[in-house]
């Protein structure tokens, strides 16, 4: 049976003495989809990605990428043949020219797409003879993306890919991600730009304090999450509205705003039972879902 997940982690843990960076992470990233990996700064996203690529050794648990065990150095080496990774700071060898870096990277991948390379070179207007160290941040990001897209990966892991890009570059990147996914590439990317995520992602994983707070399809989130604004005749107690699925209640006199992750219909019925004079239901943007998931208790 072929594996339907590109990435699977089981109890994956990384701790540094007392500090637990990634805590018993159970993550399943489906193949051929765009999965956004979200979380506040320091949530453990980059540590997780580095563990998956064998740069950091897990202190516990295990994981597979495209069926390869990450803990085996030989398997990890083989999986890197099938995975393209663009790190957060877009690190590139400053002592090479753009041309040298492309030629250097190309030699490691037998199915390098020259046509894709040439197309992106033209679109990004990258200066071939220029030293990488003299490129602007945006140009470095474009070069890093070119190196990732041109190698025909099965899995594309991107850490903050739009950082440093101008709006035109971001638009191009998002289109590229969608087209890559359409060609059967699994895209796994971390981002703080929730509007971009909402546009392209099929699936969202939210990490908080090293733990998985949420892993769901984005269309399911849009269907199940609801914001319900209720106005009562008299000021009710929040406890009276206690229904499973309520994530947060904000009260302001007779007005109450409820964020529900499920059971919206049941919550509305309960509100009407409590003599609600007005009930308004609206969809919840990803930003609110994210903030709710990562909120401090």
């Amino acid at each position: 049976m072929s594996e339907s997940f590109a990435i699977r982690t089981n109890d994956l843990t990384k701790s540094y003495r007392q500090f637990v960076a990634v805590d018993s992470l159970h993550l399943a990233v489906p193949k051929n989809r765009i999965t956004a990996f979200l979380g506040p700064n320091g949530a453990g996203k980059s540590t997780t990605i580095k563990m998956l690529l064998g740069m950091i050794r897990p202190t516990g648990g295990n994981a597979t990428i495209l069926g390869h065990r990450i803990s085996s150095p030989s398997e990890n080496c083989r999986l890197r043949q099938r995975v393209a990774y663009v790190a957060e700071d877009k690190p590139l060898y400053g002592f090479m020219t753009v041309e040298q870096l492309i030629r250097f990277t190309r030699r490691f991948y037998s199915d390098w797409q020259i046509d894709q390379e040439q197309r992106l070179l033209a679109e990004y207007r990258l200066p071939l003879p220029k030293k990488v160290r003299s490129l602007s941040k945006g140009m470095r990001t474009k070069l890093a993306l070119l190196l990732a897209f041109a190698r025909r990966p099965e899995l594309l892991i991107l850490d903050e890919p739009s950082e440093g890009l101008d709006p035109v570059g971001i638009e191009h990147l998002l289109r590229m991600l969608v087209s890559q996914a359409a060609e059967g590439v699994t895209v796994f990317f971390s981002s703080h730009q929730l509007a971009e995520v909402e546009r392209v992602a099929d699936q969202v994983c939210i990490l908080n304090h090293g733990r998985l707070g949420l892993n769901a399809r984005i269309d399911e989130l849009h269907q199940s999450y609801r914001r319900i604004d209720v106005v009562f005749e008299t000021t009710p107690s929040e406890r009276e509205l206690a229904v499973p699925g309520i994530e947060r209640i904000r009260s302001n006199g007779r007005q109450m705003t409820v964020l529900a992750s499920r059971n919206a219909d049941q919550i509305i019925r309960r509100a009407r039972d409590l003599s609600a004079v007005s009930v308004e239901v609206s969809p919840v943007p990803l930003r609110d879902i994210f903030l709710e998931t990562v909120k401090e208790d």
């Binding site: 740069m55 890197r80 060898y93």
Partner: protein, 243 residues
């Protein structure tokens, strides 16, 4: 292509050291020629010991400059890349850490070899063309001494750069260790001094300034074993480290 990267990374340091060492040897031999054969009526072949003494002095200076050069060439690798933030790019390539390390060491060794062979070739050719008494066996003796005994300095630099982060900290520690070992050997273990071994001080006849005893195989073997041990430790460190 890892060779290509290692070459691009070190070529600036390597070429600077090579030009310096070769130019030094060329100038020194020209100068030595004037000192040893100052128009005193003696034929050029008449006073070879003076010239061999000057070649021995050349070797002393060459060793000093070569050790500085190989320590500089030994700097770099994944730990330095981590400090600059590019280790993630290197480690995302489909190659093992062993191979990354192996290529870096191999390129460094080839460069270290060139830094001995080419300057001594310059000495040989300059002397030969000037009609000065120079033996090929003596030149190869000096070359093998530096390579056989001196590669432990390169290995030490690799080990230090695999343990210590920081662009300036690692070379500072490496040069400190070179000085420390030189002083320690000179003070307490003079007959086993690595410095004296690779300069030829332990094997030279003080009258003729030619190789007096056989090649110091045991000393060279111990030094090479130490180099292998240090490279092994450095590799283990790189394999187990988080980046």
């Amino acid at each position: 292509m890892l060779w290509y990267k290692a070459w691009l990374e070190t070529r600036g340091r390597f070429l600077t050291c090579l030009i310096t060492l070769t130019a030094f040897c060329f100038i020194f031999v020209h100068h030595a020629q004037e000192i040893a054969f100052r128009g005193d009526g003696l034929s050029r072949a008449g006073r070879p010991a003076d010239y061999y003494r000057l070649l021995f002095v050349t070797q002393q200076f060459l060793v000093m400059m070569w050790v500085v050069s190989v320590v500089l060439l030994g700097m770099g690798g994944l730990i330095r890349e981590r400090a600059f933030g590019v280790s993630t790019l290197t480690l995302s390539l489909p190659v093992s850490r062993c191979r990354l390390f192996g290529v870096r060491v191999a390129v460094g060794m080839v460069e270290a070899t060139a830094l001995v062979v080419l300057p001594w070739c310059a000495v040989f050719l300059t002397s030969f063309s000037a009609g000065l008494p120079i033996r090929f066996s003596q030149v190869s003796f000096y070359i093998f001494l530096i390579l056989g005994g001196g590669l432990s300095y390169f290995a030490m630099a690799i080990l230090v750069s695999s343990v210590v982060e920081g662009e300036y900290t690692a070379p500072a520690i490496a040069f400190g260790l070179v000085l420390l070992t030189a002083i320690a050997f000179d003070a307490w273990l003079r007959p086993y001094s690595l410095w004296r071994l690779i300069t030829g001080d332990l094997s030279i006849d003080r009258h003729t300034y030619l190789l007096s005893s056989g090649f110091p195989w045991s000393g060279v073997a111990v030094s090479l074993a130490a180099a292998v041990a240090m490279l092994f430790l450095a590799l283990q460190r790189i394999r187990k480290r988080d980046f």
